[in-house]
Symmetry: C3
Subunit: 270 residues, 3 copies
Amino acid sequence: MSARPIVVLLTDFGLSDWFVGAMKGAVLARCPECAVVDLCHTIEPGAVAQAGWLLQKTFRDFPRGAVFCAVVDPGVGTERRAIAAAGEGCFFIAPDNGLLTGIKHLAADWKCRAITNRDWTDPDRSKTFHGRDVFAPAAAEVARLGGIEKAGEPVGAIVETDLPAAAVAPDGTMAGTIVWFDRFGNAVTTIEREAAEKTLGTATGDWLVEIENLTIRSVASTYADVAPGEALAYWGSLGTLEIGVRNGNARERLGLELNRPVRLRKGRTE
Amino acid sequence: MSARPIVVLLTDFGLSDWFVGAMKGAVLARCPECAVVDLCHTIEPGAVAQAGWLLQKTFRDFPRGAVFCAVVDPGVGTERRAIAAAGEGCFFIAPDNGLLTGIKHLAADWKCRAITNRDWTDPDRSKTFHGRDVFAPAAAEVARLGGIEKAGEPVGAIVETDLPAAAVAPDGTMAGTIVWFDRFGNAVTTIEREAAEKTLGTATGDWLVEIENLTIRSVASTYADVAPGEALAYWGSLGTLEIGVRNGNARERLGLELNRPVRLRKGRTE
Amino acid sequence: MSARPIVVLLTDFGLSDWFVGAMKGAVLARCPECAVVDLCHTIEPGAVAQAGWLLQKTFRDFPRGAVFCAVVDPGVGTERRAIAAAGEGCFFIAPDNGLLTGIKHLAADWKCRAITNRDWTDPDRSKTFHGRDVFAPAAAEVARLGGIEKAGEPVGAIVETDLPAAAVAPDGTMAGTIVWFDRFGNAVTTIEREAAEKTLGTATGDWLVEIENLTIRSVASTYADVAPGEALAYWGSLGTLEIGVRNGNARERLGLELNRPVRLRKGRTE
């Protein structure tokens, strides 16, 4: 594990309030030597599955021993549990609402506990801000102690949800969705390179990407493969298919929206 | 006080420029071991009272010994003083323009000095960016030394301003204002739970919240207390009354604006 | 050099994605004791020259030994080199696309190497995110080792580009451009105070600033020198001429745009 405790924050709190600042204060109050790092705070409000997808795709970018404090929590104030998990050399603090589904499934060494240790949190301080009152303090304790053992009792089943993913039909067609738009307007999809190449092979010359009313031929190596203003598909930095427009904003130019279907198959355009 | 020096930044500089980055550079140049944390940079431009209100509501979320560097400074370049204060186990660096009014009134152990030590700052470098040239360096010195004694001469009176607050009328009606909108469009008001319960008791069944042309009955425990799309009042994470709309944006749906009046009283809706 | 390694990030990645978070993870994975600081992430997409200009204007705000990791990289995925440079007591990691032109010209002790050490980076992980896969890891290595010697072979010439700057005509007129708008709508120009005073003297009483269809007389000391709603020119915090409107947004009120010309000369308004 890392020489220095690291707490990584992932929320839907946005950047226009003091919420993230207050969480950092709560972490540092219990673990002043911590590095507190922002992974992302612009998850769509309440989008548990989007947060779970991003966490699963990015946690390996951080050092082993990192403590991820992921708070997308539309059920704050209700009876949903807070949980602390260990797996893949990292730790994960989150509401028990499905956010950790993906981590659980990929971690062979998954362990999970309910956060019930009253010395760790202050759940009664507010009914609306457990990011500050429950999750950040618990993350600090895990960072400080280097483990989840003192969080509370072990938890067997957790709430699970469908994370954004792609399905493969019997004819080899892959059906995914748009899960993110980046600053530049590129659409990130759930179609994984690894799965696509296993299904369709690595020669992308006769691949077709269908999105809204548009069909894109092949998977480009770089933007320079197409003319300015033209749409292209390429493998993005998370290892999934992305849709862009050279020198342009694909979201606007192609009229794309979150959660819309994307299909990848072999074939010929007429 | 904290094992590790912590400087917390609160400004109206926004997130679209290099201003906050330059302040962090100035802190680290004098105190490299500091943790520099963003509390909030989206104070309304020039809104000294809003910043003072937020500081007073959130500083206790940070560890003792934290140094708050609060820069909302419409008078930059004029003769207003820079001050360093100590109170409630923390330190506060700010222009002498009323921003620290609330901290002064709640800190029994308030001490304050003018920042005149020429080794601490570089006030002549610019007339427009004392965040970088005066306040950040002074905060770093206080963090490094763990005290304000070397800042300059003690200061008796400081400039004071009316911070956002609520008043209680003789009939028990509480009159407050909207002081913040969060990312989700919820309106944060100045009506304090503690004061309200002292005045009106804790049984909220016959409370009425009046805001614009709307009257809301009672104070909800959770969003689930009302139907989707319906407005509700609830106690927010700062201990004050907030107005929201379940699954909606209260600011837009109710046409709310900053500084508008909110009233809380006992009564019956007709 | 600083007691603690510091990596400073400057990108056009914006604040709405996980890109900056992933870069921080990549830095901390190799150098956990690093302070990772955001200088600015709102460079116009692909605006290499704007980033180079800002870097050159602000790097001295950070402690000696700081490692600047500057990623504005429209050529990502093509054959452009990644370079590591040393100069003026700091280190600079960037694509070889002109971004470091200004630093090279002002650093008498400039040294530069190609980043080819395969232990430092993972260039094949993605074709689109060398911020995470190349530049951040290399910055962490430079921060950890305190030098660029192990990056790869020395580089003689680098790609150079025209950074935003001002020119002086034979009649003493200075011609610059608008290079930035800040949160408040003030326009930052490339006209340097030092050069202007060398050319036109320090008595600004008969100076004229021409921008779009507007002529502004003199250079103000503070906003209070003009009436509310009126335009003014003043020396900004980067040592260059800025255009503002008292209590207003100059960008909107004066219809200003990036890269538009600004002229400063002696003369009389009719």
